[in-house]
């Protein structure tokens, strides 16, 4: 998928939208405070976070073995496991399951991977309705938009906008801007859907290899509904969302909600280890787990980029990013916005369509400081910028080198030569001192440089020369 326009264009539009900026500012400020309150004990934060990092790194180190173990244990429990290399394959797998069951209507819990797959649109093309049940996702679906935050999908809209939307889309909705009443309206619509749906679809927060368990965390109960009421449950996950042991779940259960929304724990932690067993009166007859690669094996290939896969999708990096909090999620043009999006999206979708995201950062390190699993996001941004511009042939990064520019290369070569030879250096500064200011703003590279900065002014004499003239030895 190629986004429309460039990040720069989209960001410019977002910055001019006062309502949007207000909506984000309010939300992000409160989330930052709530998270900070959770981690006021520095010792606890440091140790818990190191454990979170260790658990995720160990998973990635053993990933192929753990995936096999997960498959074996899921099968033992009666959960059917499917593997997909591409989003297209994953969509086909899900379609086949639904068609076999004659399913026409699917209710969904929140799943970012299904967004990656554009699953709703795909099912729609095949005559199957997929209805989002998480309130935020439901709102975004009614608005025919993409989520703008991975935890709070509709954070870009305010209550007036949502009320307008409900008025337009929900039959019999009496206009109100009360969050309580709007929530009640959505509850009523979705209750009916839960009880009538032919299948439920969910994401996965963690899949436990040791026990073959799917762990889902949520506040609303929609995740429990979609995994309990319909006769079929299909869970989709990237191959990275695995943990080795049940014990490994415990630090992540603590880090995830506290980082995401400042809660001690989500309202529900839902652990599913099998379909309905003999004698049980409810729960789905079939449970399927779809494991999706979609570029993750490539990200895994290199030890540095592999760290991207440590992510537990808490969204805290978004809430703390000075760029995200101003431009919002849609400016990133992909499924995953904010700092994690800047490193994940170009690696999944390619540098060609999404490489410009890597420069949408000041490298201020705010995300690195709060990331609960210590992903060095800033370092990864620099790596991806390098990959975009240089592209060594063995690189594992998708479309490395596509942003290579001959002019830029020449300038850097010139810079390197002039800085490694005293004669060339003194000649360069002399020439720039005399003619540099005559360079028009529109000159190649200077144009990009000056688009957001003042044009540099060259002094007639370089500092180096003046100091030398004062008799300071420069050797």
């Amino acid at each position: 998928m190629k986004p429309e326009g460039t990040f720069r264009q989209r960001a410019k539009e977002a910055l001019a939208d006062k309502e949007l900026r207000g909506n984000f500012r309010r939300a992000m400020d409160s989330l930052m405070v709530k998270r900070a309150n959770q981690f006021s004990d520095v010792d606890e934060w440091t140790r818990l976070r190191s454990l979170g990092e260790a658990v995720r790194k160990r998973t990635l180190e053993k990933l192929p073995d753990l995936l096999e173990k997960l498959e074996t244990n899921c099968k033992k429990n009666g959960i059917q496991v499917h593997w997909a290399e591409t989003t297209d394959e994953a969509n086909q797998i899900i379609l086949a399951i639904l068609q076999r069951r004659g399913a026409k209507k699917v209710v969904k819990g929140k799943s970012m991977v299904s967004e990656e797959m554009h699953l709703n649109a795909f099912l729609g093309e095949h005559g199957i309705t997929a209805l989002e049940a998480d309130l935020g996702e439901y709102i975004v679906q009614l608005a025919e938009q993409m989520p703008s935050h991975i935890i709070m999908p509709a954070i870009h809209l305010n209550r007036r906008q949502i009320a307008d939307l409900f008025k337009k889309k929900i039959d019999g909705f009496e206009y109100t801007e009360s969050a309580v009443e709007m929530t009640a309206a959505a509850r009523e619509v979705l209750r009916r859907e839960f009880s009538e749906a032919d299948a439920g679809l969910s994401g996965v927060n963690m899949a436990v290899a040791e026990t073959g368990t799917i762990v889902l965390v949520e506040n609303e109960g929609n995740g429990r509904m979609v995994t309990t009421v319909p006769p079929v449950h299909i869970a989709v996950t990237g191959i990275d969302k695995i943990v080795e042991n049940l014990e490994d779940v415990t630090p992540i259960l603590s880090l995830l909600p506290r980082s995401a929304t400042g809660q001690d724990i989500t309202t529900y932690v839902n652990m599913i280890s099998s379909p309905r067993k003999e004698g049980e009166k409810d729960g789905p007859e079939e449970v399927h787990l779809v494991l999706l690669d979609n570029g993750r094996t490539r990200i895994h290939a290199d030890p540095e980029t592999r760290q991207t896969l440590q992510c537990i999708r808490c969204g805290a990096c978004m809430n703390h990013c000075p760029v995200y909090t101003k431009v919002g999620g849609h400016a990133y043009g992909g499924v995953y916005p904010g700092p994690i999006g800047k490193i994940l999206t170009p690696q999944i979708e390619g540098i060609e369509p999404y490489g410009d995201l890597t420069s949408a950062s000041t490298l201020c390190n705010a995300c690195v400081e709060i990331c609960p699993v210590k992903i060095p996001i800033a370092q990864m941004l620099v790596r991806l910028r390098n990959e975009a511009a240089t592209g060594c042939p063995e690189s594992s990064v998708k479309e490395a080198g596509v942003k290579k520019s001959t002019v830029e290369d020449m300038v850097w070569k010139g810079w390197s030569t002039s800085h490694s030879s005293p004669a060339a250096y003194s000649m360069m500064t002399a020439v720039l001192g005399m003619t540099g200011n005559m360079m028009p703003k529109s000159a190649p590279m200077l144009k990009e440089w000056t688009s957001v900065r003042a044009k540099p002014k060259f002094a007639k004499k370089s500092l180096h020369r003046m100091v030398k003239k004062l008799g300071v030895d420069d050797e």
């Binding site: 818990l48 305010n158 969050a179 073959g212 506040n219 259960l253 309202t267 599913i272 895994h300 290939a301």
Partner: protein, 216 residues
């Protein structure tokens, strides 16, 4: 398709360049906090209360009375519960002012019943003090929908079954060799903050969670 995909995915992962060894996972932080029984109760009551759980402290003798009182205040016309649990036996044997809906009748359509019920009662496996939540293992007798669909969920929690942490629960209960179809932690009533971050209770799950805390 899928087997070839599986082999290729695993094959590629096995080719990945090894990196520095993963740091040792030191779990000490997960079980460091140990409280006295009283502290555990207080912590759970305080924290679950803060997310809108209604908690009544009662005793092994008095809880059925408390239950009847709660149902009366909430004006629920019926109660969905299992008549064959230790708790169910106590209620089902007495005359009550609400209708009984039994989730453990042999040929019950639990879905219809759950969507019809105005309140439900379940037992719990216990609770955890650190994050403050109930631990539930639905069973054939007390199915999954009972604690999920009715707008009011009333849960019985025995005070001596409150552990320090979830880490402790899975270890002492040997969960890893013993996982049920569905296990749950429940911290409060269903909630959302998806509209302008305004906290609103009762989206999809129960609007109210009532805990009858049975003191020893």
């Amino acid at each position: 398709m899928s087997n070839a995909a599986r082999d290729r995915i695993l094959g590629r992962l096995r080719q990945s360049t090894p990196g520095p060894k993963a740091p040792v996972s030191d779990f000490s932080i997960m079980e460091e906090r140990q409280w006295s029984p009283e502290e555990r109760t207080n912590r759970l009551v305080e924290k679950m209360g803060a997310v809108n759980t209604e908690i009544h402290q009662t005793t092994a003798d008095d809880w059925p009375l408390k239950l009847a009182e709660v149902i009366k205040v909430k004006q629920a016309k019926n109660l969905l519960f299992a008549k064959t649990t230790w708790a169910g036996e106590r209620i089902a044997s007495a005359q009550q002012e609400f209708d009984f809906l039994f989730c453990d009748d042999a040929d019950v359509n639990i879905k219809d019943l759950a969507f019809k019920a105005e309140a439900s009662l379940t037992t719990t496996l216990g609770g955890v003090a650190d994050a403050a939540a109930l631990v539930l293992w639905p069973t054939p007798v007390e199915p999954r929908l009972v604690s999920l669909v009715p707008p009011i969920h009333i849960a019985l929690l025995e005070e001596d079954k409150i552990s320090n942490s979830f880490a402790e629960v899975i270890k002492t209960g040997d969960w890893s060799s013993n996982m049920p179809t569905n296990a749950l932690l429940v911290a409060g009533p269903s909630k959302t903050a998806d509209i302008e971050q305004e906290l609103t209770y009762g989206v999809h799950g129960p609007k109210e969670l009532v805990v009858l805390l049975i003191k020893k």
